[in-house]
Subunit: 452 residues, 2 copies
């Protein structure tokens, strides 16, 4: 009789739970324990802004799966336990509970899925009451309580990335006067500036003040009020500050055990999600991500990627042979009635990677203009002039205009290293209420082909 | 000095105009004439049901392009002219105008884009007043006039394909009591029966009576009323009958000139859209279509395919070297609030083509169920058990659930002969209001992988 293998997973969010579920699928005899720092395994932290904005009534609904459902898969959840140290030689992890009681948990394979923590930009006064970050369920509860108790009339959101934009919308929905401050020249700098600007305009239309090109330097508190000051004489009085300046990998547990990290501070992994230390895998926002187009690892923390990496790590930790196919950096955000999405490389990224990029911008309809409800889309397509290979795409438009699935068509094309011209040849669906005979994706491809 | 080449195109719908536009792009010196039987070049006949249903106010809006816009591209339109005969040896076409005046038009290259005509099923009484077909703008005007003059209270639609379904909706929108009769056991038999049934239920919900498994045999007229009778004692009194029993290629002009046709009666073409006769190309609904998965020609008349074939024919007729990439049979229809789409092969088609197909049916959410407005999708995925290759997909769901672009993700995957497992690895977009961390497309792929 062969003893069942012990798989220990540190982290109960997307990567950790995906790893656990996949391991049990691959090897139903595998013994799986997940160490979860809080009481909320497998919660969709991506959903926090929608709950805080009142679009979702009950935070319990944010759970991808209930704890019982996870346990029903034969997974043992160690809630409110924190992993303190890994002993790679002894193949064990020291875990501490809320009461300070510690135990050693042995493993045959270990998956580190410790996630990320919010970046703390160099701003004076971040530690004061009324200043919030948003990453964990606890962060969400703290912000909710403050909103309920103090009913702030105004807020400053620092950072114009996904969370900053979604929270600007969420706070606006609660009737709060929001000022969003971004250090760079436009919001959503993961898109080309003309497209990011459209997102800023959508926020403006809904009463959000956008200030770009300003570095916030200090937050001062007097009475219940906060004063936010920054470069160029920026000065705003507000009731609440939310700092959404991105995240950095939470790799302390790993590094203390001698696990190698890359220069983003993220855990180095290969394409089977192994770290530099035998029997230790890593997945999700704490780890690097293999980029399918760049053919090297980058740091690109995204929920969808965490699920995929977790699945690979779990399968391999349970004796399987999965390979992470790689990210394309596919991302999408909904801000009020606008959706902005991208996949692949932008012009500068492509040039840096040694391509000879050409990018075109196109405006075209989502469906036949004669049919009610047609919306104009803005698309950017980037391809390699020499080879004709598709390198990336960006699409912005109304939320009813099926933006995100159009980006998915580009993403599947990128996955297959398709030429822009081949995408134009693909047999995409057409009916007047939903598309044009050449879909917007292909009209953009044709413009690229003409300009090449 | 080289004389410019003369390109003659017979047919002013999707294939013909696409060919004309592409020829002028490829060779701006090319002399392009398009013979158009009516006064409506480049009209979107796919839009007729929406105009007849009142969703589009002005029929002029159905034009993909105005005649002036086409002429501005240096294309000569010969409106209300009919091509009567091709002289392949003399490289000329005899064309007759409304007054019966005939002329010979010489060509260096000829593109036949004569389209299709409605199938006339073996039903007695099809020629009577009150019985309509819908294919051309003239058909649309005739039906509109009848609706306006007689204000029919009831209608029978014969045929549960795309046009039949769209017209059942259109007539219902006008307050007409509609009975739809389909010969086969369910409507929309281009989808698997459980999915086609959902479309039938949507029509039912909106007051349309669906009768399946009935062959209509006769239409009798007494006074202003029609009686439709069929197999199994089917008997309905009605004011109007619309026959939408599919189309057959209009290849008479071609066959008279010795151009080879296939056993669907459609013009045989190779992948550069050449017919069996030198210097004569064909494209669109009059021609066969190369199927990328079956690797042989089929008859599959679709507007999106006509555009693509026309583009290839026009490019090659003007001296270019384009190859038609092939259809995947991608199709989509919106019926009231439901969208039904498919791409690739279904189980039986795949088996017939020598694959070892496995099909799974999946029900899953279009986006995170916690976010308002989530809808359940029904998906079918067919793949080859042996190789793991994706062979086809079908999706049905609410019109807000981005069905058609999800089918496009499958279509791009099929274009690249992707494995089902690879589609699961693709980096698709995720945000809670628009998708799930594994998109519905991938959840279906995972179910297929488990069942394999």
């Amino acid at each position: 009789m062969v003893a069942s293998s012990h798989l220990l997973i540190v982290g109960g969010s997307d990567a950790g739970i995906s790893a656990a579920l996949r391991a049990r699928e691959v090897d139903p005899a595998c013994d799986v324990t997940v160490v979860v720092a809080d009481r909320y395994p497998n919660y969709s932290i991506c959903g926090l802004p929608f709950w805080l904005g009142g679009e979702i009534a009950d935070w319990h609904d944010l759970a991808h799966r209930k704890a019982e459902d996870i346990e029903a898969q034969g997974i043992y959840l160690l809630l409110e336990h924190t992993a303190q140290a890994i002993d790679p030689a002894g193949k064990a992890v020291t875990v501490v509970d809320k009461a300070g009681e510690s135990q050693q948990i042995p493993y045959d394979s270990l998956v580190i899925g410790t996630g990320a923590v919010p970046t703390r930009p160099p701003i004076k006064g971040l530690e004061q009451p009324g200043v919030f970050f948003l990453r964990t369920m606890a962060d969400g509860f703290a912000l909710r309580d403050d909103l309920a108790v103090r009913s702030p009339a105004s807020a400053v959101v620092v950072g114009g990335g996904y969370i900053g934009l979604e929270m600007a919308e969420a706070l606006s929905r609660r009737g709060i006067q929001v000022t969003l401050v971004e250090y760079l020249p436009s919001v959503l700098t993961t898109l080309d500036s003309p497209l990011g600007t459209l997102v800023g305009e959508e926020l403006n239309r809904h009463g959000v003040t956008i200030t770009t090109g300003v570095a916030v330097e200090a937050i001062d508190r007097q009475g219940g009020h906060l004063t936010v000051t920054g470069s160029g004489g920026f000065h705003v009085e507000t009731d609440l500050v939310l700092v959404a300046a991105g995240v950095r990998p939470d790799a302390n547990l790993a590094t203390a055990a001698g696990v190698e990290v890359g220069h983003w501070g993220a855990i180095c992994v290969n394409r089977v999600m192994e770290t530099s230390v035998p029997h230790i895998y890593a997945a999700g926002d704490c780890a690097e991500t293999y980029h399918r187009l760049l053919q090297r690892h980058v740091y690109l923390p995204l929920g969808s990627t965490a699920h995929k990496q977790g699945r690979v790590a779990g399968e391999n930790a349970a004796g399987g042979q999965a390979v992470f196919a790689g990210t394309l950096g596919t991302q999408v955000v909904k801000v009020f009635d606008l959706v902005a999405a991208r996949t692949g490389l932008r012009e500068a990224e492509a040039r840096e990677a040694g391509f000879e990029p050409l990018t075109v911008q196109v405006e075209t309809w989502d469906h036949k203009a004669y049919y009610p409800g047609a919306h104009k889309l803005r698309l950017c397509v980037t391809g390699d002039r020499g080879s004709g290979q598709l390198l990336g795409a960006q699409v912005v438009g109304h939320r009813a205009a099926e933006i995100s699935k159009r980006i998915d068509a580009f993403a599947v094309a990128l996955f297959n290293q398709m030429a822009v011209a081949a995408l134009n040849d693909a047999d995409l669906s057409y009916t007047p209420p939903l598309s044009t005979p050449w879909d917007a994706v292909q009209i953009a491809a044709q413009v690229w082909m003409e300009k090449r």
